[in-house]
Subunit: 385 residues, 2 copies
């Protein structure tokens, strides 16, 4: 078997295009600074991690469960998972991890109501519809963080139902982080002892553990489950993620799935065995120190980005400890060129570890050049309400 010349050229052209597009990508939280090409030999094998990574049950031996477990252990430690009291698996991405968290919550509290903020990723509402769960959308503050007063009000009005809190640890547009301590104190205050808290740390889970001051987001802060993406800060070329949950919760689900004839508590059937190796490679080669260094580099670039925007009169806002710099929406051609996501009147630059000063300078120049001929900044609205 071989490709025709035409088809071969199409692949080369596509590869070249990817290279070009990667040079002008500043709007999405995918790091490009780790090249996984050296793991290519694994493409010769169909690894399948189907089922529970902690149960070596299947006869199919081409799996990477061993590496998957080490990846999970690494993140369990980072997220202060209770010793011996957690379970997890490598998912196909943040959405599957969030779906899993909500699935767990539904099994534990079938009559529960999910509270999630209006700045949550669109997949959250999709997931809840999928699972048939009732939900209430909570207002957000201007910085993308949940409006806790609105949350408290909403829960207060329904004290007869178990609250399931879907907390954002880094919203898509503004990298707003909901504070688990504040959420818990609201629940405590209302004597809501039956509760479930899921951390959607798809965006920030890769570095939240290294931020100072430490955000309130993990198991030690009361999370029942946490989802983290592997293709964002860790630059995996294949979308993947980690989901971790308290073991006691998962065991309750196990009973249910055991009843329907399986002990497999994962959502996917066949599970990619290559992704855990990609993540394992990142963890082992970077180490915690390497990750911290990448974070500090990226954080310095976010400082620089915010300053550069402000220098040319563009209002640039940013949450403390965030890699996302929020700006008024630049002209469409700039958004297209630099692949900047937009929402309403705003846009953002996400300073993943590969972003360079040259790229930021070029973006700023492009926005300035796109201003009106009088040289005045465009009259674009700020994101502050």
């Amino acid at each position: 078997m071989a490709l025709s010349t035409t088809d071969g050229n199409r692949l080369s052209d596509h590869l070249a295009k990817l290279g070009t597009y990667a040079q002008t990508e500043l709007g999405y939280p995918c790091a490009f600074d780790i090249d996984y090409k050296l793991l290519a030999p694994f493409l010769s094998y169909s690894q399948n991690n189907i089922g529970d990574p902690f149960v070596e049950g299947g006869r199919y031996r081409l799996n990477s469960h061993e590496f998957e477990r080490e990846v999970l252990e690494f993140f369990a430690e980072l997220t202060h998972a209770p010793d011996g009291g957690w379970w997890g698996y490598v998912t196909n991405g943040g959405t599957e991890g969030n779906l899993y968290g909500m699935y767990l919550a539904r099994e534990l509290f079938p009559e529960g109501v999910v509270y999630f903020s209006q700045d949550s990723h669109y997949s959250v509402a999709k997931n809840l519809h999928f699972l048939g769960m009732k939900s209430i959308m909570i207002r957000t503050q201007a910085n993308g963080e949940m409006d806790y007063d609105d949350l408290k009000e909403a829960i207060k009005m329904r004290r007869e139902v178990t609250p399931i809190i879907f907390a954002n640890i880094g919203t898509t547009m503004k990298e707003g982080r909901d504070d688990l301590q504040v959420i818990r104190s609201i629940l405590d205050d209302l004597a809501m002892e039956r509760r479930y808290i899921h951390s959607d740390a798809a965006l920030c889970g890769g570095y939240a553990a290294f931020l100072e001051p430490r955000p309130s987001w993990d198991f030690s802060d009361g999370a029942d489950s946490i989802a983290i993406s592997g293709h964002k800060f860790f630059a995996s070329p294949i979308p993947c993620g980690i989901v971790l949950a308290r073991k006691a919760h998962v065991e309750r689900i196990s009973h249910a799935v055991s009843y329907i004839g399986t002990r497999d508590t994962t959502i996917s059937g066949s599970r990619d065995g290559f992704s855990p190796i990609l993540l394992w490679h990142a963890i082992k080669s970077l180490g915690v120190d390497g990750m911290k260094k990448r974070l500090h580099k990226a954080m310095a670039m976010a400082d620089y980005t915010q300053l550069r925007f402000q220098e040319v009169g563009i209002e640039a806002r940013r949450n403390a400890g965030a890699l996302t710099v929020v700006i008024p929406m630049p002209p469409a051609e700039v958004c297209t060129k630099w692949q900047l996501a937009t929402s309403g009147d705003i846009s953002h630059v996400i300073c993943m570890p590969h972003v360079t000063k040259e790229q930021i300078d070029a973006l700023v120049d492009d926005i300035v050049a796109a201003r009106d001929p009088t040289g005045n900044a465009q009259n674009t609205p700020s994101y502050v309400a």
Copy 2:
């Protein structure tokens, strides 16, 4: 960043182990004869096909939607999808495709009842529990095919509810294929005009179109949606699959998800952009002729396997046009060595295109050697009821 020598060695050891295990894998439907290593350069980029492959909406440009669409078009033609009347996407595997089919069915017929056979993959019951759908398990015939009398009886007793048929186009253990023509005639007979039929062609979808006589399994036979795996017959090193559905059904779902604030009708959020390129490469380099050749080679090997078992007195059963040869369960050490799945008293060999006569001969020798010292065949039960 670099791996320590110890860690580097662990990866090399794992790779070597995969090579060894691949030599003695006869029990799972993963072909090993296509080496995708030459697509390694794509591992340098984070391709993300998030959202609808037919809508170029997102600003993130590192995607392979163009290749994904061509892959889908290829399978749409193979499955006789109505011209201009289908939609689909590349999934993370057969389970996601089946979940999608059942999700569509639920949205169309919220009060419907799913009928699926007892030989269905364990993930089916898991998926239905996930979606909160009511279901009835139907008996199977000895060959793994649905017991149509039982199906008819079950539907007849509930003519007030819409039947959703989950049809297996290749059961996990016996490669039994449910016949869509027969199923439709039962529904016609009972005047059940509201109906939904999903084909779980995870196993056979890669080659059912090339079988003669043609099985009754695709859109021309009345399927509303079809799921096919990409890591089985097409040997993708990353679990993936194709789901196709009638466009009118998907449009009904679109309204629902549009209501919840998104037009993304896929289940996953971030979607792997590498898998479509793997599948595209297989399609383009093999072509339909190459696929047929691989199928005929594999079918000849299944003939050979059945004969070899019968020669040494092992009862070997096989459905017409199947690559799966069902045998009484061999001793545990043989199952472990050759990675043979077992269920109850049976096991099977799946003759994917990479399987060689030497492997089959070695397996047969191993089973014969494991017989009792008198030289008699083990008194293992046959799968025939």
